[in-house]
Subunit: 659 residues, 2 copies
Amino acid sequence: MTLPFIASGLAILYSFCLMHWVLKQPQGSPDMIKIADAIAEGSRAYLKRQTINTFFIAIPLVALLAYFLSLNTALGFLLGATASAIAGFLGMNMAVKTNLRTAQSAKKGLKSALNIAFKGGSVTGMLVVGLALLVVSLFYLVTKDLQALIGLGFGGSLISVFARLGGGIYTKGADVGADMVGKIEKNIPEDDPRNPGVIADLVGDNVGDCAGMAADLFETYAITLIAAMLLADIVFKQTALVIYPLTLGSLAIISSIIGSFFVKLPKSRKIMTALYQGLIASGILALILFYPATAALTATLTGVSTMALYLSSLIGILITALFVLITEYYTSRSFKPVKTIAEASTTGHGTNIIAGLGISLKATFLPVLVIALASLAAFQLAGLFGVAIAATSMLSLTGIIVAIDSFGPITDNAGGIAEMTQQPAEVRKVTDSLDAVGNTTKAITKGYAIGSAGLAALVLFSAYTQELTHAGQALKFDLGNPYIIAGLFIGASLSYLFAAYSMEAVGKTAMAVVKEVRRQFKQIKGLMAGKAKPQYGRCVDIVTQAALKQMVVPALIPVIAPLIVGFCLGAEALGGLLIGSIVTGIFVAISMTTGGAAWDNAKKYIEAGEYGGKGSLAHQAAITGDTVGDPYKDTAGPAINPMIKILNVVALLIAGFLA
Amino acid sequence: MTLPFIASGLAILYSFCLMHWVLKQPQGSPDMIKIADAIAEGSRAYLKRQTINTFFIAIPLVALLAYFLSLNTALGFLLGATASAIAGFLGMNMAVKTNLRTAQSAKKGLKSALNIAFKGGSVTGMLVVGLALLVVSLFYLVTKDLQALIGLGFGGSLISVFARLGGGIYTKGADVGADMVGKIEKNIPEDDPRNPGVIADLVGDNVGDCAGMAADLFETYAITLIAAMLLADIVFKQTALVIYPLTLGSLAIISSIIGSFFVKLPKSRKIMTALYQGLIASGILALILFYPATAALTATLTGVSTMALYLSSLIGILITALFVLITEYYTSRSFKPVKTIAEASTTGHGTNIIAGLGISLKATFLPVLVIALASLAAFQLAGLFGVAIAATSMLSLTGIIVAIDSFGPITDNAGGIAEMTQQPAEVRKVTDSLDAVGNTTKAITKGYAIGSAGLAALVLFSAYTQELTHAGQALKFDLGNPYIIAGLFIGASLSYLFAAYSMEAVGKTAMAVVKEVRRQFKQIKGLMAGKAKPQYGRCVDIVTQAALKQMVVPALIPVIAPLIVGFCLGAEALGGLLIGSIVTGIFVAISMTTGGAAWDNAKKYIEAGEYGGKGSLAHQAAITGDTVGDPYKDTAGPAINPMIKILNVVALLIAGFLA
């Protein structure tokens, strides 16, 4: 039980070293600093308000948990919520410092820009896994209360759903609003300083893609660890096996730190290859370390096969590799899907959207097939615990995955700063090519998060049935039972309802931004000519208000729905609901995150000179596709993952009362 | 066992009387006749080729069924396929004759146009239910072989999936292609005679919305009857109960014929009210007739409660009513959702699409909740047979529902003929207002078809488990079993994959049309000035080729997938697949059909003068939304229903081999 503390300590220490290194890098010219400061200020102000609002909603929940369950559970909830908020805040804070330095180093070329952006991203990645492993291990060590650990997961998930929703509505409301007037109506480039919505858009990248993503992966990592520990306790009642998931997490953190040194631009100058090198090194190292750890564990136990457990962990790493490859295929500018959308843009807005929707639907098939077959294989090897280990092992690489993801929004912001301070075109070209790869890696992380939820579905469901059994109600969940079917349908509807609210929220926010941006272009004389300055702050205010207001209703859906279904239709229907939500959730999430990234990169493909390049009819259509893809990939899609987790955690917490 | 023959005879007789009456109505001017003839010729030519192609695929299946199952099953398959094809062909044939007469009568005003269009639609409606009831009853009477009836359902479903796909790709490939150049690039009205794609577009309405819809509802009606009969046999082993679904179907046909006389334009001149009158009258009459029939049946049996069965049938009628109201809310120009999309169009293409996608996601919640709660209630009343009776009763109104639906594409075509022959604007206004209501009723029919599939899911699933039990393998389908979960995920992925192929097919076809239409505008001198004629035939050919080619792959998915999953992963996984496909299928289908109709009517709302009316920026954005909604509502969405039925039927047929 010392290893998790060593590993999480290492991760946190390493991230502080990186932070120190990044902060020493040159910041660029005063006008760049000025813009970066404005972005940082807006981001911090928003995140502060979002956190305060969220905690106001969390306080009654703490009281309810303490009253109905236990003080430990309530404390766990508070700890999880606080740690998730800290992960988000630190991740974002690092991003707003790295963006400027990346913009400056982009003047020197691709290699140095990638280096700084990736190191900045690694800070977030290592902090997320370090903090998650630390709080789970510490809380378990102190309380030995697995029930209370569920509370910790709940806290993390609640913050995460608010962060994904609030951040997502913010970032895409601003982005869509700014783009629709700037790029489509006024035909000025992205991030042009004349656009009144540009600062809000850049703030959005940080609060959504950095803070929201960090909180999301924090909860995904923590919940998966907790579910595996819970299952080990239920199935084997052996402390050694309960700690095993923490061991795998620890070893993978060490592997990820070493692996991150392999991220170097190769001679081919392919950015994706650089990132793959780091990921592959981390995965291989993790697999090398997992074997002796597994052998040492099973040597002390009877009836548990080393190979069965080890191969289950291998399956987890394999799923990650396949997810990365599949997502790259569907979202990279080098393959057919993105090119198809780009080609469809030549015939107009409508065919662009139809092609993109087709790709987004299709992109779900292979990932889901991988999850289905992998869970079967893991089950054959080591039963339900095998599935839990596969999920843990899959998520154990979260540190390096987040690092690979975070560099995307950092370079996106760096590009914005370059554009606003009118740097030479080469600088923007460097940040653009990093940003395009970032779209793919962002889609990978989101697919990875929801994919792990699909894999963990069986584990969480069985934890739920075991809770019911403990409470004296052993149920069968047969598909021939109409309560199960009704629960399945209702659960399935939640992903759709939740996604609908998210899309609506972005639509409304974007419309408000469009109106304000149009107003400024009309009323501020000389704005279009570059002689007057826009009122950036007005747009920031509009988006802040809208995001804070509109995140509340969808975020409460997963808290309230299990209570209604559980207490009105019973424990069987609630079981159906859990499975139903993941069955549609995985499709809604993957189709949206992958489809959105494909639309974005189809636009970038055209901007790189294909089909008439910037300003062509195809480009206009591609911008529409990108606009639609924005809330898909950055608001509705990624928020599904924490939503499903909350459903499961709430069901686990109320199981005792249903029986 | 004489009632079904009397009722189906009446339905067929009544439809021939209506046909006779419609054909006597004035046809209009020679130029109108010429265009209607071109549409009819294109429609018949396409449908003939589609039917021939489909039968080539069906022949090896007949041989396989005869070899592996029984001659009866193979004969049933052939009968089902033939009857479904006939229903489609007759429905379309009537539509291409009614369109012209509706255009002519629109000169006299709304009342007479509605009268002719609805009577033409009633021909299709009565033929569909008459034929379906006739073949199911006759085949059962002759063979008494319920197994072979499943073959009949398979034949109907296979034709139906090809008709929905082929017709859907045809109609929307042509529509989208013609609109994108005509309306967006050239800014000429819909159905303008200068547009080279216009005849293909009008042909499409007939082969997709008329023939495809008729085949689809034929199979939905037949499969639901068959599933209810199968369940009655399995659960009760009483012939009287096996015939009960046929009795309900017969009585509802008589009610629908009488109800159709209540369709008359009221003083408020609200078209929807006219249609509601007919539907409400049919529903009330059916409920009045169901009671004595149920009482007479239960008097001869022990252990079956009259009220339990009767209330189950009441639930079915109630679901229909709720579906109609919910769909009208989401798709009519009078309510918030459509107005929201229209408003979002004022800020551009992107916000229009985002708003439409939001509405399409949200529109799934209430219908699915209705289905979930209704199936629970019916189960409480009379067990699984109660659910089967609710489904049968829901679909028993198919005759009047199809009549209400079919008048939509007929008036759409009538509008096209009016536009092409440059009739006064009032004529177009009459057909447009009928067409807008038609969008809502089309969405109702599609939601109704997939909704009944949701309700029948439990029945079909239990028929599958019973087949396995008969074959000596009594299985439990517990959600804790990883094979069930893997099956659920794979089944769920089929709806997405199928929809993706459908969207892709429309996108590709539309792009081909856009290129051809652009070419003609460029190369044919004087076309835009109206001095030269376009080559309509070229577009018809392109769309025909594309539709026939691209319908094959998606149509084979539901035939092949259950074989692979069943024989590779086993009967449990296949059971999971069946439920998984309906869980995502109902959402994909309802979101697409309702969302598509909402987009279309948002455009019509703007065209009626809101937000700047025709030619405004909002109108351009609304056209993009309509374009995207087209394949959603008329290709991918509606084809999901027969796809799910095929999955179930194939599973039922192979169950004996899996055990």
